[in-house]
């Protein structure tokens, strides 16, 4: 299971890549592997305000359906439209081509509530 050192992680198995007051969010390799065969994703609208932990989208895999939660509070400034036609990108490349949303950070202090790679590794080893 791939866990990238430079990313931050949520307990809901989302990752966040921080850059210039924004984060790019996706789901982890562990999450995509558990879901398997993602066939559809409902993305949030660009421009909406979201709160950390709030459900902002839905990920449909063949066997199950799962909420996508906002990894941080802020404004959705971009969604990955490629996923509308190619949701399988999340399975194939969860940390790059399979990114899901870009959020303008509302409250930088929330960054501290996310996990480092080593903590996340411990979390999934317990599941």
């Amino acid at each position: 299971m791939e866990i990238l050192e430079e990313l931050l992680y949520s307990k809901d198995h989302e990752w966040a890549r921080q850059e210039n007051g924004e984060v790019i969010e996706g789901i982890t390799d562990y999450a995509q592997s558990e879901l398997s065969d993602i066939v559809y994703i409902e993305l949030p609208e660009e421009g909406i305000e979201v709160r950390k932990g709030e459900a902002i989208g839905t990920i449909e895999a063949v066997k199950t359906v799962s909420d996508l939660c906002a990894v941080l509070s802020g404004t959705i400034i971009e969604v990955n439209k490629e996923l509308e036609d190619h949701p399988e990108l999340i399975n194939k490349d969860p940390y790059d081509a399979g990114w899901i949303v870009r959020i303008k950070i509302g409250d930088p202090e929330e960054l501290g509530t996310l996990m480092e790679a080593s903590e996340y590794k411990d979390l999934i080893s317990m599941e």
Partner: protein, 365 residues
């Protein structure tokens, strides 16, 4: 939790194991979508040893089988196979099953989830001079399914099974091991199911896989997830979802399994009554406009009023759109009727379509 004779094989293949009907079974190996594709385009192999086998013998075996099932077992010739249902007196379904006519007995192949229930049901309804034996643990069962299956099977059997018709069985020998093979399956593709003594299961699996390799035909191990999608794409019912104690074969579109003129059978009176009164609901197929997946239990509406419920639904990898089966009140069962399915509080439009969804299977009828 029980293990099938193929359990070690699933572990070796890195199958994702789940609890299903008292067994540890693989829900998938690589990817459900790839496994479905493998069966539609090439060959898939499934461990279905969790299915139950109940053997009925004795001088009244035929009459008894005809009493507990809805189809007419008396028309079966030696080695012929028949799809049928067992009913409660009220007309609801105990199980759907296959009946094999063997030289000295009838072999009933029943759903894994219903093994114990069916055996008890059959024992409790025993009539005449019959012996009823639960053979579920004695047999392994491997399904080999897909358009290229024959190429594989004919390499490993002593005799060429090319002319074995759909829904016929025969005794065969695979590397000197006695097995029963039948031209049956649950995928809509050409294929065989192989039965034999449980300890032989691993060996036969390996022989099939090796044969595929020899002729350069890719054989994809498939789990329960792929099996469920394959059957739904061709509109086959799954017990517990599409057919239950609460549904009759007439409502489920299985009236072709009910032979009213064959004599008495359990549930007949209730079906006659239902026929006279007219059906209130029917099992239908639906195609959805959106990509959201309709799942078991989701309500179906017509102009804001609830008219039914989804019993099975999935994303169809073969057709690349969502499909579902469900019961709706008449007259909303008619082909072309526009209905709405509630998916996470949103109304998603769909249309009633004819079954099967996937019409280009390689099955040899």
């Amino acid at each position: 939790m029980k293990k099938t004779p193929l359990y070690e094989e699933h572990i070796k293949l890195n199958g994702r194991m789940v609890d299903f009907a008292d067994f540890k079974m693989p829900v998938q190996y690589s990817s459900i979508i790839n496994e479905v594709k493998g069966v539609r385009e090439s060959v898939g192999i499934f461990d279905v040893s969790h299915m139950g086998e109940i053997e009925i013998s004795g001088s009244d075996a035929l009459n008894f089988v005809n009493w507990i099932t809805t189809n007419d077992a008396s028309i079966l010739k030696l080695w012929q196979v028949q799809y049928t249902t067992m009913l409660y007196p009220e007309g609801g379904i105990v199980d759907d099953l296959l009946v094999y006519r063997l030289p000295d007995s009838y072999l009933l192949v029943v759903n894994a989830t219903n093994r114990e229930k069916d055996f008890n049901w059959i024992i409790n309804n025993k009539r005449g001079n019959v012996d009823i034996e639960d053979r579920g643990d004695d047999y392994f069962q491997i399904a080999v399914q897909g358009p290229l299956t024959l190429d594989v099977i004919k390499r490993i059997t002593a005799e060429d099974p090319s002319d074995l018709p759909f829904y016929w069985a025969k005794e065969e020998s695979i590397s000197g091991n006695k097995v029963l093979i039948s031209r049956t399956g649950y995928t809509g593709e050409d294929g065989f199911e192989i039965y034999g003594d449980s300890p032989l299961g691993m060996k036969i699996w390996d022989i099939v896989m090796d044969a595929g390799e020899t002729i350069n035909t890719h054989i994809v191990p498939c789990g329960l997830g792929a099996r469920d999608i394959l059957r739904l794409e061709v509109g086959y019912c799954l017990y517990g979802n599409d057919i239950t104690k609460e549904t009759t074969p007439l409502e489920a579109g299985l009236s072709w399994l009910v032979k009213m003129d064959k004599g008495d059978f359990i549930g007949k009176e209730s079906l006659i009554k239902q026929e006279e009164e007219g059906l209130r609901r029917k099992l239908i197929g639906m195609r959805l406009e959106s990509r959201a997946i309709p799942r078991h239990g989701y309500p179906i509406y017509k102009e804001g009023e609830k008219v039914g419920e989804i019993t099975s639904g999935t994303h169809s990898p073969t057709l690349n759109y969502p499909i579902a089966m469900g019961y709706v009140e008449k007259p909303f069962h008619k082909k072309g009727t526009k209905l709405e399915i509630e998916i996470r509080k949103k109304m998603i439009e769909g249309e009633v379509v004819s079954l099967p969804f996937w019409k280009n299977g390689s099955i040899k009828r």
